[in-house]
Symmetry: C2
Subunit: 397 residues, 2 copies
């Protein structure tokens, strides 16, 4: 039986056009883009073309504002540590939010051990940062504000334009982790006004292990990877040409097909949300209802464990997740769900469903049908459920 894949946040399949471009790149045996001979020049042209495609997707003023990296995590580390190290003599204070991805949180934790200080602003119960809170957090020695574009667990989109206005008034560089937004919803670096923006290729059906960092021209930043002169001296190391070619093609397609993809996701999302009460009861939908990623639904289901649901759905060949794949193995409850006010037990019962291009309404119904059975089975053996619902069914024999 085919797998019903509803975990596009963790990994997206490659588009046929992306596969074809990568296979072609493999077969071409490109040289080193830094070499001075013709073999190298051909590789440099391929790199330029991909840079143009990616720059176009987020509306860069010039392609060289894009630095190719090996993943969204590298982009985030590069942005945060690169700014911190370059401006450390001016100040050592950074403002962030309570619901960032681990790449941001742990980069900041690393800096804290190096005498930087961090102010983390809270979010409301829909996951929104309040611009006033950011304004109040800025100090004389603030050198960076880093607030995500969209949240990877509940989908909420932040008011980046407003936040950037606050930052600009105080002349503080602004970075946004847009890994789950770029190629999924419209992202325009000119309109947003950000100085740095992190993204990755896989959310828009490009390969994993390729990312990018937008660095507005004139932004003072140190490289994270020191060495050769690649990426206009901003990221040393031999380029993953095959992956970069794939990301370029994926970026071009994402731009062209974005409206259609968003419409498709929203249709599935509405279907799931409207049908869900017919299949299970006692759940909470997390995040903002409209200012959110079109392809993500976060559901906290009462009296069960999300991990058990994932494993039991997996037996039915349905793939969903409980949280960011980057946090797998961590036993702690989600800091995002805690920040928006979910109680511990509800946070533990959370599922994240993320749609992709190939999903259908049948996938939604198949998921809901399986979910109903799984939730019933788990609640039947849940002490929490029996305690709070004395009339609930007895445990299975």
């Amino acid at each position: 039986m085919k797998i019903t894949y509803l975990d596009h946040m963790s990994a997206n399949p490659l588009l046929p056009e992306v596969k074809a471009a990568m296979i072609d790149a493999i077969n071409q045996d490109f040289g080193n883009p830094s070499s001075q001979h013709t073999v190298g020049e051909q590789a440099a042209e391929v790199l330029d073309r991909a840079r143009g495609q990616v720059a176009d997707l987020i509306n860069c003023r010039e392609p060289r504002e894009i630095v190719f990296t090996s993943c969204g995590t590298e982009s985030v580390n590069q942005a945060i540590k690169g700014i911190a190290f370059a401006h450390g003599d001016k100040g050592r204070h950074i403002v962030t939010s309570n619901i960032e991805h681990n790449a941001v949180i742990r980069s900041l934790r690393r800096l804290k051990a190096m005498d930087y200080t961090v102010t983390s602003v809270s979010v409301d119960d829909l996951g929104k940062v309040k611009p006033d809170d950011v304004a109040n957090a800025i100090r004389e020695d603030t050198i960076l504000i880093s607030i995500m574009h969209s949240n990877n667990e509940v989908g909420t989109l932040q008011p980046i334009e407003e936040l950037v206005r606050v930052a600009k008034e105080k002349k503080v560089p602004f970075h946004t982790d847009a890994v789950d937004s770029v190629g999924v919803v419209p992202v325009d670096v000119q309109k947003l006004g950000v100085d740095l923006l992190s993204f990755a290729s896989n959310p828009f059906y490009g390969p994993t292990g390729v990312g990018g960092l937008y660095v507005r021209r004139g932004t003072r930043i140190f490289p994270l990877l020191d060495g050769g002169v690649q990426e206009h001296n901003r990221r040393a190391g031999a380029e993953n040409l095959v992956g970069i070619v794939g990301m370029g093609v994926a970026a071009e397609l994402a731009k062209k097909e974005m409206t259609g993809r968003i419409g498709h996701s929203l249709k599935l999302k509405e279907k799931l949300l409207s049908e869900l009460p017919n299949y299970i009861d006692e759940f909470i939908i997390n995040g903002h209802s409209t200012e959110t990623l079109p392809n993500l639904i976060s559901i906290s289901i009462k009296y069960i464990e999300g991990e058990s649901v994932v494993l039991m759905l997996d037996d039915e060949k349905i793939a969903v997740s409980t949280r960011s794949a980057c946090a797998t193995g961590s036993l702690r409850t989600s800091h995002v769900l805690q920040s928006i006010g979910r109680e511990y037990a509800d946070a533990q019962g959370t599922l994240i469903v993320t749609f992709g291009k190939e999903n259908t309404e049948e996938d939604v119904i198949r998921f809901l049908t399986a979910l109903r059975d799984v939730v019933k089975t788990l609640r039947d053996i849940s002490p929490l459920y029996r305690k709070s619902s004395p009339t609930a069914g007895l445990p299975l024999p």
Copy 2:
């Protein structure tokens, strides 16, 4: 006309088996190795297999001593900065050599701006580090010794085992940049005794944009990329699975074919070195004659500019280089050639020829024939040549 490619140091073509494995990986649409469902588990198995293949190539005690990175440069940055940041409270002194790759030099330069100090030992005129010099450079506060396994410009192999013995006596962690050695000559981390060893996939016909760092079990090191729990918590970020699969297959082939590949390179090298005097005069062969990479020849040709030779040979569809591709665009003369005592003018006239599996004796003769003409043309218009050789031919009309 087919290109005679003699610049395998800059970029190697992929082996057919590596291409096939990568194309298969592209077509499989692997999930995220960190996901908890079956799709993710399949990806995790693929990652494990590649880790085993790579661990086997350098004789790790256990595969998890391998951390996959995005390139040799990242491996080197990770090793040096990761150790420096983890041991910064114990001491801030690092020992290195004068002929390291830019990835090492510039990582150390970055650390110097963060209150670390560096002692760089000189090399002899064949490019060898003397163990006594390293012993004398070690101080109470030395936290790392980083000396390359083989030099990327002149090929000289360092006495790593001896150097490690010196380091072990003083209990200082030892890192070696083995990017141009792993998969090219036998590298055995048990025999060498190193704590950290950087390598990349392309020198053994794997894809660019994939590298690895060997970290001996028990070595205290901080991640360079903070975020998720990938790579046993030592390198966050979504994995470049397609590239890693390619590196795994390339590693397995490199181990199997190493003796044959070395023999093939040595035959071509001997041919070139024995024939060279029949084609040009007044040149110097750089580096050690036996303790050296089998696939590399560095020739300093008097009274000419290496860059002009590269461009003129390129017109003849022959690809060679003057130095590391990572240093292209830099106008400064090679620090490696200066360190082994080459004068400025001779350093500028240096060519690096690197052989690969597919090269033949005909390639050597084709290169030598073209080189003879190019050198004659350039010397005829060289004021240096006319000054030092008053009987040399007049400039071309």
